[in-house]
Amino acid sequence: MKFRYAMVCSSNQNRSMEAHSLLKRQGFDASSYGTGAHVKLPGPSLREPNVYDFGTPYKQMFDDLRRKDPDLYKRNGILPMLKRNSSVKLAPQRWQENASDGSFDVVFTFEEKVFDMVVEDLHSRDQAFMRSVLVINLEVKDNHEEAAIGAQLALDLCQMIEASDSWEDSIDEIIAAFETKHRRKLLYSISFY
């Protein structure tokens, strides 16, 4: 495993954690982040989401929601998801606030908006290390089923990248191959640390 990977979605709960969990199981050096202002989880209605700060442990959210309405959150899969997440890492992390985590080689985002924010954030940093970073966006809908599929796709892509000598030289081919294989559209950008 040559590269360090980061999985980024909005709340660092579903899509990024699904992929993080899967990659971790596959032995990849992966981290995960969210780019939103807060961690948002579905609530009893669309208008009443459960909002937490990044850094709030998954376990704490789990307890909180179980106390509020165990049936509801069990039924909609939130509690299982939180349980899964707490087995991967302690708490959701915000991308923008964790620049000190060091440089990644590849960053996966699962939503165009997130992709934009990651790229913009990288551009705004002081790119003194001159380490290139590949940012790839794989559009994944924010539900459990799609997240599972997305994680598989991300794994596949990671393996393709890992297989190449240097992604810089072959990224176009990798992307093209992936797109043909999975009939999914990708976007990538390159930035520096």
Binding site: H123, F129, Y188
Partner: protein, 1332 residues
């Protein structure tokens, strides 16, 4: 030493050991040692370290790179021996090693730069080791550039691109940025702007131009994207975007490259197109996030591009985010625009400091670059040197002839204006040629339109006042005296003589700049003769800027020797423009030159050839000039440097200047805006020292007639006006406005042009920002008025007024009354002249004066005018009083609808404003008083201009009134005639409408402030009848408007002033008319009735709300009122309220009336009978049932009401069918021995008499003696009664005595029965009568 040996052995192990792990760990330990020992000691080991570069293990090599970086950063001077290793590694077979070496070298590169700059700052020199290292760094740079260009690993190339970006950032000046970085303590400290001091090793000029060239390399990548891997293209785009964002200087270039890139990259097949497209999108979105003015200007372009790539939503989102900031900026700029005279900063669109800094830094940079560029720039034919002097001579003479000596004086105390600075800056950029073109584009797009226009205008003044006689080809200007070029030379010489090499070009730079601009003018407006009032000589903007420029630019190079002393000064001048004022003053002499410059240069460009022979003389001139100039400039500069500019340099600079001129000329003639594109084309070749120049021919100068001049002027303005069509985007529309504003200010009040403008403005007022244009022009004129102390201000103010009026009128004429443009215009113009107010006044008030004819007033217009007035009162404190006067005048307008509108405005809106409420109140009070006290206040009335005037025709009456008043007071002699007339009319004093006119406003105010009503009550008593009528008319409206909130009214009611009873009644009536009077009101009125005002009239309105018990006590008082009032009261009483029902039923009313005792209640009997009659008149209310009920009730009363019988009679009169009921009543009365009540007895008898024969039965019930007496009184009864009684059925029931009275007993019967006889007699007689 031990450590040395240890290190050596470790290094050896790292080199030769068989185990990789051992190698690495040995190397690591060696590194630690090297870093810990003395740098000089470690340096001895460097060769051994360097040997490791041949290690076959790439991990070792990679680590070696990192170690070299660490050591290099620590012991910089000693490590030049190691750098070659890194350079070698860049071509390593392992891309990872190559990449690491690039990274490490880059870090060292930055560190070296920083160190060199700091060393020079601190010690004024740079250590040798560092210098050597720098040479290696340059090699490194070249190597990286090569990597970027040549095929190879993409990963390595990406890094090399990143280095290019870094390189450009390092060597593109950005004062702001570096400031910021320093402030933040950020890592990458160095920026080329540090190198102001003339660094011995680092030549900022060269470096900056190198940075520009590097940018060109990056841009070139975009030319052939199809050959590149997608990742490379993306990185190029990202790098360019980063450069553009961090160094706005390059923004324009980068943006246009990226925009151009978008369309043609469909050709890119190999790579992932979507991602490349997306990288553009990201770049554009990133630009949108920037608020830097340069970038902000291009927002529309960015938006268009983003929309084209379906990123409109994202763009909108970003824009929303940034919007707030942008708005703030705009506001700031707007404010600053208004206070132009404040500061230099006010001219600039962004808050002053930043821009100022920026402009200065730009300035310096360009100037610093100037040297290199100019040397590069020189080109073409061999004649250069000779031609130059000729030009110079030419222009100078001209300037001399044009500019009298006197002009200098005014220049002396002039300060450096922003315009001058900008001119200097543009000049510097123009001198740069290709390089400058980019910057110039940015700069121009960055210049605030106002400023840009000022610059253009400033340069227009360089047109000669007296055009030199010209022949097309022949007249070479050789004979002309010396001109502008020489003076810049002077400047240079004086200010920075030690190092004439660089200063000279810089000094010239601005010069050509002015030329460039003025040339651009000439293309459009060449033929405007300079306005006499704006004599170019007086204009300080001329050459001083270059002075500033040169002084700033000079420092960068000449300081080598005494850097210490000079440094602070230069720093100051760079960061701030203030220090420049000094140089400005010295420049006094030169300004004169530029005026003529444009002309001269113009010609010069056309001159193909100049004889070589002149060359020498030229030089002489040049050098002689400086000497002349020295004394004057020395006064302030205190320059202690000698004057010894090398000739060669001078030539170069002059040559460069000329070429620049040419370039710019071309650019300008084709199009002002395209300037940038053109200039690079010409000056690409860089052959230093080789001087040659094509001298263009002089253009023809044609003396125009007045007529022609006018036409040309018109044409020019017309062209600018129309220019919005070809110019896309909004960027230039502002410039256009600013330009027009200045032109209007400059061109003599030419009606044609004003009219033309006006037409144009009105034509597209909304669409094409006519409003903004007008404001622009007006603000410009206004600024002239306020700024220019001398003669032009009066001219400008006249023009201002004229223009404003013309536009305002045409707005009125063109747009419907509902249009808000007019009021907006008045609201936003810088100042409102008297005439504008007059216009407004006319609009609101106009045709009272022409009311002789037919009234053509359009009510809508009045509304519009009043709307404008309102707006002005709110928004223009200075004109508040005047506008208020207009509104008030209208509020007492004789025409109802106008007055109503104005009153609505005044009372509902203006009166709410506490700062004018008093005024309004006073005015309204005055008006109402004038109506009331005509006799005493007539004079006052006629004095208040407003009233008087608008009286107009109405006045005839009024004057007569005043006449009569005068005669009354004894001034008959003078006024006999009028007096006589007046006497006739004095009775009618004032018409109702006139009174209404004067009081309505006050009443409208009363609805807002009920306390004012007190005055109405106070004056009511003495008011003339018409005024009272007017008051009566207004009261109902007022009461309605007051609604239930009439507590103030209650206060007045509780204590009404004398004489206002009628008014009080009216008020009460209205108060109670539609609603239930409140308990308060009732209590108040009752109290008033009980205490002060005994008149029961006032109670009438509230009667319906009173209960029976309340009404009964006052009933006599009501009856005592005049009959009409009683009827009213009666109505109220019977009407009652919805809740309680009527206070009294009709029957009770009747009873109550009858209960009144004249003696006890002090009421005339007549009143009571009248009251009864009044009741009987209402037959629908007082029906026979009612009467019956009332009478039935009364008949049992003891004593019987005095009027009882009268009422009975009346009742039976009114309702004959009541007769049976009445008979019963009479019977009752008989049983109650009615004869014992004399007054009633009379009535009884009368009633009986009237109701015969029905009453016979009752009559017969009377005791015979009474019957006898009754029959005696009413003799006519006897017969019929006797007849009636003689009927057998009745006769038998009658006592004998009765029969005797009737005479129905036989004579033979005893006399005792006489009494009973009479009735029978009567009845028989009746009977007989019947028979007959």
């Amino acid at each position: 030493m031990a450590s040395r040996d240890q290190a050596l052995s470790l290094l050896a192990a790292a080199n030769t050991h068989s185990d990789l792990a051992v190698k690495l760990s040995s190397l690591k330990q060696a590194k630690d040692i090297l870093l810990s020992v003395e740098p000089s000691l470690a340096a001895e080991l460097f060769p051994y370290l360097a040997e490791l570069q041949f290690s076959p293990e790439n991990l070792v090599r990679k680590m070696l790179v990192k170690i070299i970086e660490e050591i290099g950063l620590k012991a910089m001077e000693h490590c030049s021996v190691l750098i070659p290793v890194l350079l070698a590694f860049m071509k390593d077979t392992d891309p990872l090693v190559a990449r690491q070496s690039i990274i490490s070298c880059t870090h060292i590169f930055c560190a070296v730069l920083e160190e060199m700059a700091l060393q020079f700052r601190r010690r004024g020199k740079v250590e040798h080791g560092l210098e050597e290292l720098w040479l290696w760094m340059i090699k490194f740079k070249d190597a990286v550039f090569a990597i970027a260009m040549e095929p190879g690993y993409v990963g390595t190339k990406l890094l090399s691109l990143k280095f290019l970006e870094t390189y450009i950032l390092l060597f593109t000046d950005d004062t702001n940025d570096s400031d910021k970085l320093v402030a933040e303590g950020n890592r990458q400290l160095f920026n080329v702007s540090w190198l102001v001091g003339g660094h011995p090793v680092l030549d900022p000029v060269a470096l900056m131009s190198d940075a520009d060239r590097t940018l060109g390399i990056l841009l070139d990548f975009l030319q052939s994207p199809s050959n590149l891997p997608g990742s490379l293209t993306i990185v190029v785009v990202n790098c360019l975007a980063a450069i553009a964002r961090k160094r706005p200087l390059h923004y324009g270039t980068v943006l246009s490259a990226l925009l151009d890139f978008s369309p043609n990259f469909e050709a890119v097949k190999v790579c992932h197109t979507a991602s490349i497209q997306y990288s553009l999108r990201t770049a554009f979105l990133g630009f949108l996030r920037c608020t830097h003015p340069v970038i902000f200007e291009s927002r529309d372009r960015l938006l268009r591009a983003l929309r084209a790539m379906n990123a409109g939503d994202a763009a909108d989102q970003v824009i929303r985010q940034v919007d707030k900031m942008i708005k703030n900026n705009e506001r700031a700029s707007r404010e600053s625009r208004f206070s132009r005279d404040d500061q230099l900063s006010s001219q600039l669109p962004v808050s002053g400091d930043q821009l100022r800094k920026r402009s200065v830094s730009l300035d310096t940079e360009e100037l610093a670059n100037g040297h290199e560029v100019s040397s590069k720039r020189i080109c073409y034919g061999p004649n250069i040197s000779s031609t130059v002097p000729i030009q110079i001579n030419d222009s100078e003479e001209e300037s001399v002839s044009v500019n009298g000596v006197s002009s200098n004086a005014s220049l002396l105390d002039s300060d450096l204006t922003p315009v001058e600075q900008m001119i200097a800056m543009i000049g510097a950029l123009l001198a740069e040629g290709e390089r400058g073109a980019e910057s110039l584009e940015i700069l121009i797009s960055n210049i605030h339109p106002d400023l840009l226009a000022d610059i253009v205008i400033a340069n227009m003044k360089h047109l000669p006042k007296n055009p030199p006689p010209l022949s097309r080809s022949g007249n070479l200007p050789v004979s002309r005296p010396i001109g502008p070029v020489s003076s810049p030379a002077q400047v240079v010489v004086t200010s920075a003589p030690t190092n004439s090499f660089s200063p000279v070009p810089t000094a010239h730079v601005p010069f050509s700049a002015t030329n460039g601009l003025s040339l651009s003018d000439t293309s459009t407006a060449n033929n405007y003769p300079a306005d006499a009032k704006r004599d170019p000589r007086r204009d300080p903007r001329r050459l001083d800027p270059r002075r500033a420029a040169s002084s700033v630019g000079v420092p960068s190079i000449p300081i080598t020797d005494d850097a210490g002393a000079m440094e602070p000064e230069f720093d100051g001048s760079i960061s701030l423009s203030k220090p420049l004022s000094l140089p400005v003053v010295t420049s006094v002499e030169s300004p004169a030159l530029p005026m003529s410059n444009s002309e001269t240069d113009d010609k010069a460009i056309e001159n193909p050839l100049v004889p070589e022979s002149d060359q020498v003389s030229l030089k002489e001139k040049i050098f002689s000039k400086p000497e002349d100039a020295v004394p004057s400039s020395e006064v302030k500069t205190s320059s202690d440097h000698g004057l010894s500019p090398p000739h060669t340099v001078d030539e170069d600079s002059v040559a460069s200047k000329l070429s620049d001129v040419e370039v710019t000329f071309e650019a300008h003639t084709s199009a002002f805006m395209e300037l940038d594109q053109h200039s690079p084309a010409v000056s690409n070749t860089s052959i230093p020292e080789e001087t040659c120049q094509d001298l263009p021919q002089l253009p023809i100068y044609i003396e125009l007639t007045e007529e022609q001049q006018r036409n040309v002027r018109k044409l020019a303005v017309e062209r600018i006006i129309e220019s919005y069509k070809p110019l896309p985007g909004t960027d230039y529309s502002w410039t256009r406005m600013a330009l027009l504003a200045r032109l209007v200010a400059q061109i003599d009040a030419d009606d044609d042009i004003v009219v033309m403008l006006q037409n144009h403005i009105v034509l597209d007022y909304q669409l094409q920002k006519g409003h903004e244009l007008v404001l622009h022009i007006l603000y410009h004129l206004h600024s002239l008025v306020t700024l220019d102390s001398a003669g032009s201000s009066s001219y400008a103010s006249a023009l201002y007024e004229k223009f404003l009026l013309v536009v305002a009128k045409s707005l009125l004429d063109t747009f419907p009354a509902s249009d808000k443009s007019f009021s907006r215009l008045l609201g936003e113009v810088p100042v409102l002249p008297e005439s504008a107010l007059t216009l407004l006044d006319d609009l609101c008030y106009r045709d009272v004066l022409d009311s002789h004819g037919k009234e053509v007033r359009d009510g809508e217009r009045v509304t519009q005018g009043l709307g404008a007035v309102w707006g002005l009162i709110l928004g223009r404190p200075n004109n508040r009083q005047a506008c208020l006067d207009i509104a008030l005048k209208c509020a007492v307008h004789s025409q109802d609808d106008i007055r109503a509108k104005a009153i609505r405005l005044v009372a509902n809106k203006l009166y709410q404003l506490n700062y004018i409420a008093d005024n309004i109140e006073q005015f309204a009070t005055k008006m109402i008083l004038s109506a009331v006290d005509q006799r005493t206040s007539d004079t006052e009335l006629s004095q208040s201009g407003s009233t008087d005037q608008r009286e107009g025709e109405v006045g005839s009456q009024e004057t007569s009134v005043s006449g009569s008043q005068l005669s009354d007071t004894g001034n008959c002699e003078t006024n006999t005639a009028r007096g006589a007339q007046g006497v006739v009319q004095s009775a009618s004093t004032m018409s109702l409408s006139e009174a209404q006119r004067l009081v309505s406003l006050f009443f409208a105010l009363c609805t807002q402030k009920p306390t004012l009503l007190q005055l109405v009550f106070d004056i009511y008593g003495r008011a003339p009848k018409t005024v009272k009528q007017a008051v009566h008319r207004n009261i109902p409206i007022l009461i309605r408007a007051l609604g239930s909130s009439y507590s103030e009214l209650l206060r007045i009611i509780s204590d009404p002033p004398e004489g206002c009873e009628n008014l009080l009644m009216l008020v009460l009536q209205k108060l109670t008319q539609e609603t239930m009077p409140s308990a308060d009101l009732i209590a108040t009125v009752k109290h008033l009735y009980e205490t002060k005002l005994k008149d029961a009239t006032i109670l009438i309105p509230i009667l319906s709300s009173l209960s029976k018990n309340e009404v009964l006590p006052i009933f006599p008082r009501l009856v005592g009122l005049p009959i009409e009032k009683f009827q009213m009261a009666l109505a109220h009483i019977l009407q009652g309220s919805a809740h309680t029902g009527p206070a009294l039923t009709p029957a009770e009313v009747l009873v109550a009336i009858h209960d009144i005792s004249p003696e006890k209640d002090g009421l005339a009997l007549k009143k009571i009978t009248d009251a009864c009659s009044a009741c009987f008149e209402q037959r629908t209310v007082f029906t026979q049932q009612v009467l019956a009920k009332a009478l039935n009730q009364m008949v049992d009363q003891t004593p019987l009401p005095l009027l009882f019988m009268r009422t009975v009679i009346q009742a039976v009169d009114a309702f004959p069918t009541l007769v049976d009921f009445v008979m019963e009543l009479l019977s009752k009365l008989v049983s109650r021995q009615v004869w014992k009540m004399p007054k009633l007895w009379v009535g009884f008898l009368k009633c009986v008499s009237q109701t015969r024969p029905h009453s016979f039965r009752v009559l017969l019930q009377l005791p015979p003696p009474l019957l006898e007496s009754a029959l005696n009184k009413h003799a006519n009864l006897r017969g019929p009664l006797a007849t009636y009684a003689s009927q057998p059925s009745i006769k038998t029931s009658l006592p004998r005595s009765t029969l005797a009275v009737l005479g129905l007993l036989n004579d033979s019967q005893t006399q005792q029965h006489v009494t009973s006889l009479h009735p029978s007699e009567t009845s028989s007689s009746v009977h007989g009568a019947n028979l007959t």
